[in-house]
């Protein structure tokens, strides 16, 4: 009985949090037009969220691409189907791994930075000070960061996919000796523009979700050092779960 009640309460809490996050998104979106009138603030945040994530994204992408190339080659060689390696790698990356891994890396690199930055502003009363200075912190602080993150993720995903495919090409064609022409032509044969569309729409949704969770956790963190730490942890945990759930839902919807 106690267990049931505990479960019920945790469900209620999760539901309440979902509602709070969605309301927060509404608040941010209401301030977005105003935020867009100051593109410099947004470009600074694209720098923080995107440019600073580029190294980790590109490094991971190259290695992910290489390992898919290697595994794919190994599996396909048993079926004497090495030629479709390019197609397999591209589909795996574009439809699935690219958006998901990029979103997870983004949560770890940029999401935590966002959450701790905003959380620190909360803990040191900077947000309250802005309010008293008649400056809306949602408009001035939260909205540009949200928009910057949401723009960065799809771009990072595209970079991830491109680098990943090059990594697989390097392993497959250069090391394992798959025919280079077959690698690209089979890829073009099997990858449809719809697949790219699926990947891009996923990355857009993940970008919005990851940025929203980061700014929400930062903005609503407990105003203490401990609270800031917890907010960054929660950012990574929540983003990971939400991205994987959304990934399944979008895939099921699109297939």
């Amino acid at each position: 009985m106690a267990l049931f009640r505990q479960l019920w309460n945790s469900q209620l809490a999760a539901l309440r949090k979902l509602g709070a996050v969605v309301l927060f998104l509404g608040e941010i979106l209401a301030q977005c037009p105003a935020a867009f009138t100051r593109p410099r603030l947004i470009s600074a945040q694209i720098h923080n969220a995107g440019v600073l994530s580029l190294v980790i994204i590109m490094t991971s992408a190259f290695f992910v691409g290489m390992v898919i190339g290697l595994q794919g080659y190994d599996s396909l060689a048993r079926l004497r189907q090495e030629d479709i390696l390019g197609a397999g790698v591209a589909l795996t990356l574009i439809k699935e791994l690219g958006p998901v891994v990029t979103a997870l890396l983004f949560a770890g690199r940029a999401g935590t930075a966002l959450a701790s930055e905003i959380g620190l502003m909360r803990a040191t009363d900077q947000l309250a000070a802005l309010e008293v200075m008649a400056i809306d912190p949602i408009r001035r602080i939260v909205a540009p960061r949200f928009v910057g993150g949401a723009i960065s993720v799809p771009l990072l995903t595209a970079v991830f996919n491109a680098i990943g495919i090059l990594g697989a090409w390097f392993i497959g064609v250069y090391i394992m000796g798959v025919d280079g022409g077959a690698f690209w032509s089979q890829m073009q044969e099997y990858v449809d523009p719809e697949d790219i569309g699926e990947g891009v729409s996923k990355s857009i949704v993940f970008g919005i979700a990851a940025s929203l969770i980061a700014v929400y956790e930062g903005y609503n963190c407990a105003p203490t050092a401990e609270g800031v730490g917890m907010a960054t942890t929660r950012t990574v945990v929540t983003t990971s779960i939400v991205v994987l759930i959304l990934d399944y839902m979008i895939t099921a919807f699109l297939i």
Binding site: A44, V51, A162, Q188
Partner: protein, 164 residues
């Protein structure tokens, strides 16, 4: 203020890089040309069985890709499959008595439509129908037939040994 200049440059480069990557994906990983419009003309063909053929499957002639399958429908009156093919417009001199067959790439590969050239002087055009068609070879039926034949052989071969 001065320190924000290299940062803005970096941001610009990043956005450029992102779009370049997207362009790379759109042009290198997929064949966007075939989507580039409705150019070409449509012809139809009727098949008894199109098992395995999909929309966007290739249409080839002498092994060269000349178009795509655009639509596959079931005709309720004639109880067969009506397949619409889109042939790229540069292949405008295909004789109208050519035949269409559903072939398989490799033993288990994907199905495609192969066009065999006919001898007529008039050419296929928008709305033509290919009259001579050959349906897909369904592997299960093939194997079924093969086993059935084998079993019959086996029966005749095995009975004397049982009597012995």
């Amino acid at each position: 203020m001065e320190s924000s200049r290299p940062r803005e440059l970096g941001t610009g480069l990043f956005v450029l890089l992102g779009f370049a990557a997207l362009l790379f994906l759109a042009t290198q990983t997929t064949d966007l040309d075939e989507y580039a419009g409705d150019e070409g003309y449509r012809v139809t063909a009727r098949f008894e069985d199109v098992a395995g053929l999909k929309v966007r499957s290739q249409v080839t002639m002498s092994g060269v890709n000349i178009g795509r399958v655009e639509r596959i429908e079931f005709d309720n009156d004639r109880l067969d499959a009506l397949v619409t093919l889109r042939i790229n417009s540069q292949f405008s001199r295909i004789p109208d008595d050519s035949d269409a067959s559903i072939l398989t790439a490799g033993l288990l590969g994907s199905k495609y439509v192969g066009i065999g050239a006919g001898g007529s002087d008039s050419y296929l055009k928008e709305g033509s129908e290919l009259q001579i068609t050959q349906s897909a070879v369904v592997l299960e039926q093939l194997i079924g037939k093969f086993l059935f034949n084998k079993a019959e052989e086996g029966d005749t071969g095995a009975s004397p040994s049982v009597e012995e």
